[in-house]
Every structure is written in C-alpha cells, then in structure tokens.
C-alpha cells in the first residue's frame, strides 16, 4: 500500500476503529495510515486515548479483561484482529518500549537475549552477536560492554530505557511502539533517547506517544492529535505545529488547554 | 501456529482443572460426610440425634443425642474466646500502635511460633502443667475440665485474633488518627476512641475466625477436658466436645454401625458451625477490603 499524496509506503492502516473497556468506549472511529520508516507522534492531554491507541497496535490491551475492539487494524495488509491472527507472531513484529523502563532482574545480556531465546535462538555465538548489535544500535554498547553479565537493575534510568530499546530490537521487529519513553528521564538522557529515535527510523517504523510537544516537534515526521478518544487531526508534524486545520489542535499546541 | 494455540489451550485447561480442585474437594467432603452419615436416618432414625444423652456403646440402650457434645463444644469455645479476646485485641493494638519497630520485629515472629505449635504438644503441656495448676487453684478433684481446655484453646485463638485485628487496625486511614490528635486527644484516647472503633468490624471478624479455629480444634481438647459427655455449663466440670468425640471413638467403632454413622453426623454439625463462622467473618473482611476478591 502506498499513500497517493505523499508517496510513502503505508505500514499500518487503521480503519473505523472503536475500542471499549467493558461498557466504556475509549476510542471512537479512528482512521489512520501510518507510514513506513517514519516517526509518528501521538499527542494529546492525558486520558485522550493515545496510549490506549498505541496498545491496540500490538494487542497489548488483550491482557486486560473485558476489552473489545471493532473495526480494522492492518499491518502490512493483514488484519491484526482477525480471529486467525497469531498474536504472538504479531508481537514479534511489533516491539514496544514502556513508559517506565522495565528491565527484568537479570543480567544485561540475559535481558536482551530473552526475546531471541524465546524465539528459538540457542547458539551462544548467535546470541552474543545479537546482543552486541542491539546494544550498538541503542547507543549503549560503549557504556556496558565490560559488564554484560551484571544486573540490569544497576543501570541508570536512561541506560535502563536504552537497554529496553535494545531488548525490543533484539526480536527484530518492523515497528517499534514507544509509550512516553522519556517521561521519567532527565533532560540529558531524554536527548540521548531522541537522538536514538532519529537513528532508528532508518530501519524501523516508529510510533511514539508523548506528552511533550517539543519532543513531538523534534523527533517526529507525522503527528496525530487525540482528544477525548477521537483522532482530531493527523498530518505532517510541521503542518500540525505551524498551521493546524482544527481549532482544538491549535488550542492544545499553543497551550490554551490540556 | 495452530499447534501453538492447541498448546496454549491445553495448558489453560490443565491449570483450570487444578484451580477447580478446591471446589471439588469441598464438594467431596460434603458428599462423603453425608454418604457415611446417611444410613443413620433409616436406622435408628434421625430423631435420635436430638436426645440429650450420648451413650453410643451400651448393652441396654444406645443413645446418640448430640446435645451434650454440642454444649461441650460451645462451652469450651465461649470460654476460650472470652479469655482470648483481651489478649488478642490488646496485643494487636499494642503491636500496631505502641510497640517500637524493633519490638514488633521480635513480637510478631514469636506470635507466629505460637500459631505453629502442634495442638498435640499444647495438649500435652496442658495435661502435665496446666491441668494440675487448675486443680490446685480451684480445689477440684480433677484438673481435666472445660476451663483447662479453654485456656489452651485461647492460646490457639490468640495468634489469629492478633494478626487479623492488627491488619484491621493498620487499615484505618491515617487521617482519622491525625484528626483526633489535632483535636487535642491523647494517643491513648485516639487509639481506643477512634482507631479501635473504626477497625471494629475487622476485629469482630478476627474473633470469629479465632472461634472457628477453636471449635474445630481436636487434640488439645481431647487431652485435657476430661471427656465426660454431659450437658453442663459449669467451667469446672469435665466435658466432651464434638471433635474429641470423633477422634476418640472413631478408632473403636465397627464400620457401618449406627455409632459409626452418628460420628459422621457429629462431623456434619461441626462442619456447618465452622462454615457459618468463617463465612460471616470472610464477608466482613471482604467488605472492608481486607481480603481481595
């Protein structure tokens, strides 16, 4: 699939999607095409549904009892929510970085090797290679190469988050979802993560939830503004930040509410 | 892919059946108690249970009246509860509100040890130490009385009452305490007039759970209450509880006899009593969020 106007290849297509937590509807009729190898930022006030939306893209909401989704979410043209879909295979294709960095209480090496091991990589040499590659990609290699077998819990907050990125890359995904990955970090670590995101988009389709509009402006190619469970506006980041079509978007961008 | 799904489904059903096991066991317990007790209804008839004499082995007239056993259990249980309440509740208040952190660290494991002492050891101690003491203090012919049993059982109930009351007291919102102190109440006043009343339902539930434990206790009572199946509300007489009756007589009955079946009726009554006590306290604790659903 290719977007006719921009010429971008479309990685994810969301069509008429409604999402419910039990009786409560959290997302209303979302339609969105997400471009391959670009960074798409999801912004909006808290509770607007941006995180919920993000979690529908790897069916992470499935773990919560009583959730229900209507409509379609296509990744590379195949329906994520069809009953035939292999959820596990899907999650392998879609990596996720959480708001709170969540390294497992294992060694740095074992954290990154966790995914590959699950997916059947047994050979120690292969694992070592994967771990090294992913740490290099996540710009953490130089800091930890001498202590791969120490506990990941001993890393700083920013390092932990980069470790989680490395861990997500280790399963070789196409898409990386990031749920406010820098919200708990200091400005310097945040900057590192942002640099990293710009590097990664060469190889990955990245979707990032952020409450920080400067960050959205700095890292993303496209920006989607959510409000009260609806997608209000979705366009090139530059356009959203300079001349948005919707009044609500403008109000939010300029800080008049939220 | 389908293989993986099949595997996931098998695991789920396997775990589910393990989970249902508790339900199955409870049902089986009811089933088997009634199954073994049932023959009693046709011969000698269920009415026999309502007599006031328990004399199951007799050449003249066998009697299976449960009344003396029930009163025996009730008497011992009430006495034990009365003794345990002040210790349990005051102890809980002390541990949660007065004791220093260091003290608490010593006291709590100690109380846990008490909860862990096997009842047969407690019964043995009662037989050798407490019974002669009761006999001397009250000038009785025998120290094997309801009171002796009650004292021992009280100490089995205290850990339950203490730990659950402590949880109840801890779950009282700190703002109550602060509000009371801010109004110029002393700590003691705050404890007894604000905190304890606020935790009362939890404390009551803890007492009921303790009672549930006491009613069902077998070995210690059997060893020290004298085993006389008489209807009595005098703490200084020998009595026989339902639990002791089952434990003492089951070894000697003929399988399938009326006596055998009657002991299962004793079990049913016992089970229902503890069931009600536990159910009510569980409901109370759940309502106040001290057990999660």
């Amino acid at each position: 699939m290719v977007d006719i106007q921009t010429g971008n290849k479309i990685k994810i297509r969301v069509g008429n999607m409604n999402f419910f937590y039990g009786p409560v509807q959290a997302l209303f009729d979302i339609n969105m095409d997400i471009a391959e190898r670009k960074v798409t930022a999801l912004i909006g006030p808290s509770g607007c549904g941006k995180s919920t939306f993000l979690r529908t893209l790897n069916r992470m909401n499935d773990i919560i009892d009583g959730t229900r989704l209507e409509g379609k979410v296509l990744i590379d043209g195949s329906d994520l929510y069809s009953p035939m879909t292999d959820v596990v295979g899907l999650r392998k294709k879609v990596g996720m970085i959480f708001q709170k960095s969540n390294p497992f209480p294992k060694s740095i090496f074992d954290n990154i090797a966790y995914g590959p091991r699950i997916h059947g990589v047994k050979d120690k040499k292969d694992l070592i290679e994967i771990v090294e590659n992913c740490l290099i990609k996540s710009a953490l290699w130089d800091e930890v190469k001498d202590r791969l077998d120490t506990s990941a819990m001993g890393l700083s907050g920013g390092q932990q988050q980069r470790l989680c990125i490395a861990r997500a890359l280790a399963i070789n995904p196409d898409v990386v979802l990031m749920d406010e990955p820098a919200s708990a970090l200091d400005p310097k670590s945040t900057l590192k993560i942002e640099d990293l995101i710009s590097d990664l988009k060469k190889d990955y389709t990245i979707i990032i939830v952020t409450h920080n509009m400067q960050q959205a402006g700095r890292v993303s190619d496209y920006t989607a503004f959510f409000y009260e469970g609806r997608l209000i506006e979705f366009d090139e980041t530059e356009k959203i930040f300079t001349k948005p079509n919707q009044k609500q978007t403008e109000d939010y961008i300029t800080g008049r509410f939220g | 892919m389908t293989k993986q799904r099949l595997k996931a489904r098998i695991i789920k059903y396997f775990l589910q059946s393990c989970g249902s096991l508790s339900i199955i066991i409870v049902l089986l317990i009811f089933l088997f108690l009634f199954k073994e007790a049932l023959p009693f209804i046709s011969e000698p008839g269920i009415g026999g249970l309502f007599h006031s004499v328990w004399n199951p082995v007799s050449f003249q007239k066998e009697e299976f009246g449960l009344l003396p056993l029930i009163t025996g259990s009730v008497l011992v249980t009430l006495l034990a509860t009365l003794i345990a309440i002040p210790f349990g509740i005051i102890g809980a208040v002390y541990i949660s509100e007065v004791a220093t952190a260091k003290e608490r660290e010593v006291l709590k494991p100690f109380i846990e040890i008490l909860a862990g002492i096997p009842s047969v050891v407690l019964g043995f101690f009662g037989l050798i130490v407490v019974a002669p003491l009761v006999k001397d203090i009250f000038g009785l012919n025998t120290g094997l009385t309801a009171l002796t049993g009650a004292v021992l059982l009280a100490f089995m109930a205290i850990p339950t009452i203490m730990s659950i009351s402590e949880d109840a007291i801890k779950s009282v919102p700190i703002i109550y305490k602060e509000a009371s102190l801010a109004l110029g109440a002393s700590r003691i006043e705050t404890i007894w007039k604000v905190i304890v009343p606020a935790a009362l339902s939890g404390i009551v539930a803890s007492v009921m759970l303790g009672m549930g434990r006491v009613v069902g206790e077998t070995m210690a009572v059997m060893m020290v209450t004298g085993n006389a199946p008489v209807v009595s509300f005098n703490p200084f007489t020998s009595v026989r509880t339902m639990t002791a009756t089952i434990a003492a007589e089951m070894g000697e009955v003929t399988f399938g006899s009326s006596h055998y079946a009657s002991l299962f009726w004793v079990g049913i009554v016992l089970m229902l009593m503890t069931f009600v006590l536990n159910l009510v306290s569980y409901r109370v604790l759940k309502k106040y969020g001290m057990i999660d659903k």
Partner: protein, 284 residues
Amino acid sequence: MNKKRTGEKIIYWLMRGVTYSVVLFIAYILLDILIHGLPAISWNFLTGFPEKSGAEGGILPAILGTLYLVIGTIVVALPLGMFSAVYLTEYSKQNRFAQSIRMAIVTLAGIPSIVFGLFGLGLFVITLNFGSSILAGSLTLACMILPTIIVASEEALKSVPKYMREGSLALGATKWETIYKNVLPYALPGMLTGAILGIGRAAGETAPILLTAAAFFLPDLPTSVFDQVMALPYHLYILATQHPEAQKILPMQYGTALVLLLLVIGLNMAAIILRIRVRKKYKW
C-alpha cells in the same frame, strides 16, 4: 495535665503487660518442653525402635513415619497448589467461577482437621480401599494444606510486578512462556515459604492421621505407600493419654514432644527467614 500523662503511662504499661504475658506463656511452654525433653534425647532415642510399648527405646519409626507422610503430602499438594494459584492470578477472569474457587478455598481453610480425617476415612481409606496407609494419610493432609499453599503462592505471584509480564509479552513470548520464564522464577521463593508453612502444619497434625494413617506400634518400618505408619504427634498422644503407665514415662513423652516441636518450629522459622530474605532480594 501531668496526672493525665501518668494515667496514660499506666495504660501503656498495662497493654505491654498483657502482650508480654502471651509471650511469657509461649516462652514457658517452649522452655518447659526443652528443659524436660533435652535429657531424654539421646542417639538411641532418635535411632532406636520403641520397646515395652513405648516405655523405653526410641522413636525412629515415628520420626520416619512423619517424614514419609509429610513428603507424600507435599508431593501432592505443592504442584496442585502452585498450578491452582497460577490459574487464579494469571488466567481466571473476575467471574463466578473464579469466585466459587475462592469461596471453596476459604471454606477449605476453615474446615476442622478432624473433619478432614472423616473425609479421608470415607474417601481414601474405605471407598478407594487404600486402607489406613501413608497414601491415605498423605492425600488427606494434602487436601488440608492446599489452601495454605494456594494463598501463599498467589501472594508470591502477585508480588511480581505487572511490567514483568507486559515486557515479556511485548517481546513476543506466549502467555505460558511469560509465566514460566519471567514470573514463576521470581515467585518461586515466596511459593516455597507457603509450602514450608504447609509442611509444618502437616507434620504437627494428629487428628486427620488418627483416622487415616497412624498406628501406635509397628514392628517394622513401612515398605510401601499402602502401609500404616507411626507418627510423632500420634505417638506423643498415645504415650501421654493411653499408656497404662503414662506418669512413669514422662521423659519419653517430653522427648517426643521436643522432637516434634523442634521439627515444626524449625520449619516455621525456615519459612519466616526465607520470607524476609525474599523481600530483601526483590525490591520491585
């Protein structure tokens, strides 16, 4: 004002007195049994067979019998309890089925041990025809300690934070892989605490095995799970209440009581220590 403070102090001291009198009572029991029991314990006592219906000799068969019963119990109850807890915390939804399971667990936890004995007698000994045996006794005790193990295991599982599960699922692990590789290893020590507490309880119980497994005197050690066994608590009960010369063999009674007490308290202490260490090790 000063008078009020004195009054308050008195009340504190009264409360302290009440609390410590419980402690004193416990200490008295422990010391009494320790002081009178210690002289009775010898190599012979621990490794010999009872002689003259328990008036002399040792208690080896009773120690081994209790060991066999406890091993049988834990072999049955631990896996079942663990899986049951995994189902409740990881799989079950908030529906009536899960609620009935919880209700059943609460009910089980409250059933008097002697009633478990009756149940074991009816089901295992008579209906399934295991006879009075290690098998029947172990199964009965397993039913009894199942709630303890389930509740402790559930708590251990719940203490593993949600992000451990989400993180693993997001990496494409299946639900079971996640539980098996990233939840159970961290919950295991906590589960073992529950198991040890359960063992402690099973080792000290008399009433259930009275009806399902125990014999006062056996000339030989059991050779299969269908054999009856001697057991420490039952041995103590008989020596103290049924023996014709109960007064004369006090040392034997105290010795048996001490061994049983050490076993049970040892297990409880192990559980407490393990729990403290687990809490220190994983601070989520």
